[in-house]
């Protein structure tokens, strides 16, 4: 930076010295120091912060950031079988085209007269999710699937006036950690054991734990461990017999082929929409959905914004607005339901674009294609001596557990060998779920070809051999 000459910052129009002078004069200040008259002298920072020297030119900045990014090797460059809550699906170009539009990217909290397009796009997102889920109410997205699950459980406790929730033990440790933090201090979260052969929730265990104090029974479908819970109807019936609410956490990209949970008895359905058109972004593509029937006792317990369609003074014109705004913390602070704030609206709009592009046929095709590929991968991997796949005898969607106990090799070593061959192996479960032994969670999606899976199987055979 040149000495003695004030820097004019391109992002700061009034940093131009002459304009700055005129404005100081207009406000009657000698210097900008005068503007902070209410900040006590004692609390003023003396001197300058110690920060890196700025990269004032756009080019220097770009080069620096790209230099850091170059130190990453991505799942696009490697052949990746990582999933466990963040998924490598193809992102249609139109999804990026729409969410990079400045009008959407930089809008925020405009009224319907400022931002009609934002309201309509989010209403349509909710409407398409409603079709996928066979439910009438879907929220403007919350932060992520973890938050959606945690809020769904709290909704259930408020609706029932009860304080205990039951959760399938096959949930991920991270999501359970979030739920436990969010359920403090008044909600008791207990786990329900699973059948070690099939992964399915143990119905006897569930019956033994369900009581008149149970607010909700929660399970994922497909589960964190990839298998499909096939007895959702029986689980829902047990919950309902005790007056509890059935909460199902579903991966929306599976619902072109899998039954919407509402059809087997779910009262609240929730999950993450990252799979619907968001890049993985090192975990930056998440957004959460919550869906219910259109019943007031459910609607009034949503903390999120709900956009509804409304008439205008012109016959036939659509307007939009907030439904039951008075339930929110925006309206009534701590008297509202949990809280509402900036969450993940842009990803909701993007998921809407995704569903509009895919249509009914696309969602069925992608579901079928993923299942065919993951089955093929399991069959190929199963040929390897000492490897057990799937670890659970049940239908699977895109993920499955591979057990390596019979090979005598730890997953960590196997994954290192795979990495040396340009492959990201499955997520190591050995510390998270020690009862599964040396196991890894593999994910296969529509991006994988036969050749990719053969390459994986060959590399695995070498790694364990």
């Amino acid at each position: 930076m040149s000495q003695g000459k004030a820097t004019v910052y391109p992002y700061i129009p009034n940093s131009a010295p002459e304009v700055k002078r005129q404005m100081l004069e207009a406000v009657g200040a000698e210097s900008t120091e005068d503007l902070f008259e209410d900040v006590p002298e004692k609390l003023r920072l003396k001197g300058r912060m110690t920060l890196p020297e700025p990269l004032l030119s756009e080019y220097a900045l770009k080069r620096h950031v790209e230099g850091l990014l170059d130190k990453n090797q991505t799942a696009g460059e490697y052949l990746s079988f990582l999933g466990a809550g963040c998924y490598q699906h193809h992102v249609p170009a139109v999804c990026d085209e729409v969410n990079r539009r400045g009008e959407f990217l930089t809008a925020y909290a405009g009224e319907p007269y400022d931002d009609h397009g934002r309201f309509q796009a989010l209403f349509e997102y909710a409407s398409m999710m409603g079709e996928l889920l066979n439910m009438d109410v879907v929220n403007v997205p919350t932060y992520d699937g973890f938050q959606a699950a945690a809020t769904s459980l709290r909704m259930a406790t408020r609706i029932t006036g009860r304080h205990q929730v039951l959760i399938a033990r096959t949930i991920s440790a991270d999501k359970l950690s979030k739920i436990r933090d969010y359920c403090k201090p008044s909600i008791e979260a207990n786990l329900v054991d699973y059948d070690p052969e099939t992964g399915q929730m143990g119905l006897d265990a569930l019956k033994a734990k369900t009581s008149e104090g149970t607010a909700a029974v929660y399970f994922e479908n497909p589960s964190y461990l990839g298998f499909i819970e096939t007895r959702g109807d029986e689980i829902a019936a047990i919950a309902h017999d005790h007056g509890a609410i059935c909460v199902v956490d579903a991966d929306p990209i599976s619902l072109g082929v899998l039954t919407p949970p509402a059809d087997y008895g779910a009262d609240i359905v929730c999950g993450d929409i990252q799979a619907l058109g968001m890049h993985m972004q090192y975990g930056g593509g998440h957004a959460g959905y919550i869906a219910t029937r259109d019943e007031e006792k459910y609607v009034m317990e949503y903390p999120s914004r709900l956009f509804g369609i409304a008439p205008t003074s012109i016959r036939g014109e659509y307007g939009f607005g907030d439904v039951a705004y008075e339930r929110t913390s925006f309206a009534v602070r701590e008297e509202g339901v949990e809280w509402v704030g900036t969450a993940a609206a842009l990803w909701g709009i993007t998921a809407g674009v995704y569903l509009a592009l895919m249509g009914p046929q696309g969602m069925e095709d992608i579901g079928k294609g993923i299942m065919a590929r993951s089955h093929y991968a399991m069959m190929e991997i199963d040929k390897i001596r000492g490897v057990k796949v799937p670890a659970f005898q049940a239908p699977h969607f895109k993920e499955f557990v591979v057990n390596f106990d019979g090979t005598g090799k730890p997953v960590a070593d196997i994954n290192q060998t795979l990495m040396a061959r340009g492959i990201f192996g499955g997520v190591d479960l050995s510390k998270e779920l020690p009862e599964l032994g040396e196991s890894a969670l593999y994910c296969v999606t529509e991006v994988h070809t036969k050749e990719d899976m053969n390459r994986l199987a060959n590399a695995l055979a070498e790694a364990v051999g």
Binding site: S15, E37, L45, V65, K71, V94, L105, V137, V447
Partner: protein, 528 residues
Amino acid sequence: MAQQDITQQRYTDGKPNLRRFHQARWDEPINFELSREGQRGVLVPEVEEEIKDQVGDVLATLPLTVRRKAPPRLPELSQPQVLRHYLRLSQENLGADLNIEIGQGTCTMKYSPKINDQLAGHPKLAELHPLQDEDTAQGILEMMYRFEGMLKEISGMDRFSLQPAAGSAAIYTNASIIRAYHKSRGEADQRDEIITTIFSHPSNAACARTAGFKVITLYPGQDGYPDLEALKAAVSERTAGLLITNPEDTGIFNPRIEAFVEVVHEAGGLCVYDQANANGILGITRARDTGFDLCHFNLHKSFSSPHGCGGPGGGACGASEALAKFLPVPLVAYDGEKYYLDYDRPDSIGKVRPFYGDAPVVLRAYAWVMSLGAEGLREVAEIAVLNNNYLLNRMLEIPGLSAPYAEGKRRIEQVRYSWETLTEETGVHSEELGIRAADFGVHYWTSHHPFVVPEPCTLEPTESLSKDELDEYVAIVSHVTGEARTDPELVKTAPHNSTIHTIDHSPLDDRSQWAMTWRAYRRKAGGA
């Protein structure tokens, strides 16, 4: 017919006049209405024949209970139709890239540099899976580590977690840390009260309640500043902590903030600084130097990441050394050779969000700080505050407007104004002024509820607007208030130049009519 003359609408002599604005109006149908059977928007990869042969009919492996019976009734649209539909909807928005976005006070609607958006979409980040081996994610981990270092310097705090998804999520995280802290001292049951102020963001109250605390809300004292005596009366052995914004949403900096912190500390509580309004004090004053134990920044506000129609954002939680052990896991660490994710934090409150934070948002915030440096950040604060006080002076020239509390004093980053006098004189309400302002292409917001300031409006010019643009905004508001005096019906019947006309809100609060999805609307409105 006389020739139309728009001389008065032109930008003459450097003096902004009123634009003949009209918002885009495409009368765009709901996308379900555009659907035609059999159209396709994108095709998915075909499964190879060898796979099909080997696996057979995979759906047949599914028990009937879990096999979808009828396809979802999604719209069937071709790709160009989808694109046109959404681009029309995009045009029907007033994003910060388009309008003089100073009308959403407290939200710091600053310029989001395009280069940072471009970098945030880079495949080297977009295609990165969060569970990759750390060796393959050294670039993003280094960036997160460096950015944490910047936030530590800006706030004086000792550690940061970038995990919380946005501002309110960060407030909740800090409330959860307060709970964990008191539990670690065996006082969790006793300390069940959180104190906040009415001009702190509503999420401070709401998140505290969600975390299980009772909420005590303080109102300003006689001099218009947060009331120290009221705080002294509120604290007790039940005080868990203070959640407070400074400057408050009125734009007033609490000059007694250090005494506030001391009083709460003496009572055994923790002090949490909601730094959503930090833009005007970057490099001026720091949270830790005032004695705060915890703080949070909104990366989508002060640190320039775009607001995305309401997220994704980023909430960064900072903690003093004593409280850092409670931050969410993992934290990003560096062992001298390698950046890694540190999960070995037994006292942590655990996870508050999947993985480690919103990486593209962190990238934008990091790049923004790198483009400015220490002097630049201070310039941001100074110009934002200069802009705000310039706007304050100009706005107060408009008859019927006041800036309640601490009158005559300068403000920091925003001002909550009151049109009480104008409303008394004209019958026109602040909300109506805002709708009419949209007719001239600008956004205008009232305030969070409750309207403690009567007929409020909250403006925050940030550092991103030029003097001429501030003058233009004032000219629009001045014109609209003039209309309120000469032709109040014109204002009350606004909008006139919007995408749509006056909305009938009654169905939105009526369970028999409200419809949050197209299917519910069709059912309730009888397929209208």
